[in-house]
């Protein structure tokens, strides 16, 4: 039976389970979150927050979004039990994949973007901008913009436009303008800076479609609520399939949107362990990684207080990962709070472990995962050992690996460099 889509979209307002311990101000998750942005953006953030609150309470908006998620993106996505992978990788534990890779455009990013593009129309703006790292959020935004007839500009680090050239072409095919960002480290964090500069300048006509659960309030809440559908569907699907709740839920964490999306429906289920796997790059000890929660310290980046990779003077440290989508020195504020409160556990997975899990899923199940998602699969190998063969482990397969074939072929020596 299909789980209902409708109850799963924008439903949780402020004060929901996403703020364990409660927060005394809007947009705060314990001490994290908030708004650290130029005053010039406050009016736009307030407008977005207001429109979002009213949309969340508007059945017509809900119906339109649910219709798009169903007929355009293909929701609900299935849960697939991967027995061969479980046997090989997880000491025989039952491993269930939530198949966000089967969404239109190939990842969970579309869930967020369809909602934000609808909000843009509701606000009456005609132009959207977005940042992208791997290109998945950029492709999703360009897709929604094409669908809804919005002008679309995507900021992408120059370095990433080279690493993900195919996605640049996809965005351009969809009618978007891709602007390579050549400042700073020329990656995702600099693309966000440039998008924020555009927004400050063009805020009267432009909405910023932020790609993850980071950034200033209301983005962490807004994007979470649009991604909650993953966990709401999966929780019911796992109950139907196994007759019980999973012992553990695992997801990769870049900015944290696919992870919060699958975690959220389980936060109140105290017996369900929540695991976020960060990009360990060359290994945390090497200093070349993107393990923000594991190795970072609380501070302010891109408009919110959260863990971040920074030096003793508060300068952002560049991150490194084989996965462009996880290559970000910050993380969403709600994850920082889930970490401090002990509700979720965050661990690093390095490039080599992730690529090994990537290959294993290809070989045992005929599914090529995104390298981002392969970090969660690698985490499952550890969880299997820890939880034993009777365990049920739910993994968010956040995206598919088509975009990563080039990287993987090089990693495994299948292609000339």
């Amino acid at each position: 039976m299909e789980p209902p889509v409708s109850e799963s979209s924008v439903t949780s307002g402020p004060g929901s389970v996403g703020r364990p311990g409660g927060a005394d101000r809007p947009g705060r998750f314990g001490p994290y979150g908030g708004r650290y942005v130029p005053e010039a953006l406050i009016a736009a953030l307030d407008e977005l927050d207001r429109e979002y609150q009213s949309a969340a309470a508007d059945p017509a908006f809900q119906a339109e979004l649910d219709g798009l998620l169903r007929s355009y993106s293909g929701r609900p996505t299935p849960v697939t039990e991967v027995a061969r992978f479980g046997a090989e990788a997880a000491h025989g534990a039952r491993v269930l994949l939530k198949r966000e890779d089967l969404n239109h455009t190939g990842s969970h990013k579309i869930n967020n973007v369809l909602g934000q593009a609808l909000l843009t129309k509701r606000i009456g703006k005609r132009r959207v901008i977005a940042e992208t790292g791997a290109g998945q959020h950029g492709v999703a935004t360009a897709t929604a913009a094409a669908l809804m007839g919005l002008e679309c500009v995507i900021y992408m680090g120059e370095e990433d436009t080279r690493r993900q050239a195919l996605n640049v072409a996809r965005m351009e095919l969809l009618g978007a303008t891709v602007i390579p960002v050549s400042t700073g480290s020329r990656t995702l964090k600099d693309a966000i800076n440039e998008a924020l500069r555009d927004w400050v300048t063009n805020v009267a006509t432009t909405n910023y479609v932020f790609g993850t659960v980071a950034g200033p309030h209301p983005f962490p809440t807004l994007v979470r609520d649009l991604q909650r559908i993953i966990g709401v569907e999966a929780r019911q699907q796992v109950l139907e399939l196994t007759g019980r709740l999973p012992d553990a839920v695992a997801a990769c964490v870049g900015g944290g949107s696919n992870a919060i999306g699958i975690f959220h429906a389980f936060v109140d289920d105290a017996d369900v362990k929540l695991y976020g796997f960060e990009a360990g790059g060359d290994g945390v000890a090497s200093g070349r990684h993107a393990a923000t929660i594991t190795a970072g310290a609380p501070g302010v980046l891109h408009g919110a207080r959260s863990y971040l990779l920074q030096d003793e003077f508060g300068q952002t440290i560049e991150s490194h990962s084989i996965s462009a989508g996880l290559d970000y020195p910050g993380v969403g504020p709600e994850h920082s709070w889930l970490k401090d409160s002990g509700r979720a556990i965050y661990q690093p997975v390095d490039d080599a472990e992730a690529m090994e899990a990537f290959r294993l899923l290809c070989r045992t199940e005929g599914i090529i995962p995104a390298i981002e998602s392969a970090h969660a699969l690698a985490g499952v190998r550890r969880l299997g050992a820890e939880l034993g063969p009777d365990a049920v482990i739910l993994v968010n397969l956040s995206g598919r690996g088509d975009k990563d074939v080039d990287t993987a072929a090089k990693w495994f020596g299948l292609m000339e460099q």
């Binding site: 005053e39 010039a40 406050i42 700073g184 400050v200 302010v300 508060g314």
Partner: protein, 264 residues
Amino acid sequence: MNTSAVFEKARAENRAALIGYLPAGYPSVAGGIDALKAMVDAGVDVVEIGLPYSDPLMDGPVIQAAVDAALRAGTDTTHVLRTVEAVAETGTPALVMSYWNPIDRYGTERFARDLASAGGAGAITPDLLPDDSDEWLPAARAHDLDTVFLIAPSSTDERIALTAEACRGFVYAASTMGVTGTRDQVGDAAAGLVARARTVTQTPLAVGLGVSNGDQAAQIASFADGVIVGSAFVRCMLEADSPAEGARAAGKLAADLAAGVRRR
């Protein structure tokens, strides 16, 4: 003289105050100090010393370029404080302009203490709102430091009032919606914003973003208490063949601007 006294003196002279910005550490710590001193000698009344930061999302390409170079050369918060000390010795109020994270990381109380003991007048914090200043405001007051926050053309009257209330020294009114950088025209939005702010505060109102010459300074000075110039000074430094020439060019620009704020 403290910042308020500078504005009072300017008002008594029937002119606007001139506020000049350079990031610390560009082209070097000593080179930046020389340029700031040249600006002071040529008539800059209040100095803003930028704390170079890796993610300057309020800044346009000119300031980004200088800040990137300063960071690559190893400039850190201690060099910023050293620059403050050197400028403060001239008797000119020196404020640090910093994104919030470097101050947060240094420690809010420790930063306030060290800034005060370097002779600094206060800090301008472009990405910290008064709403989130529960730590900064008491620390700054305890060390007798100015706290300058920004208002923008998009600010509601309510937010203008709330922000002005938290400001000490002056209120920074952003002339246009956008990032730092010189502009051919400094929008009418600035005059409207200043007029709105006048109705709710006695604190001096200084306008920044986009000003690059004496004529624009004169135009702003006709309705504002202060004129803030950043990118145009930084451009002098970026385009100069040597640090000494950069300092000379910055001094020359300061003289033009200082004449402008007296032509209101």
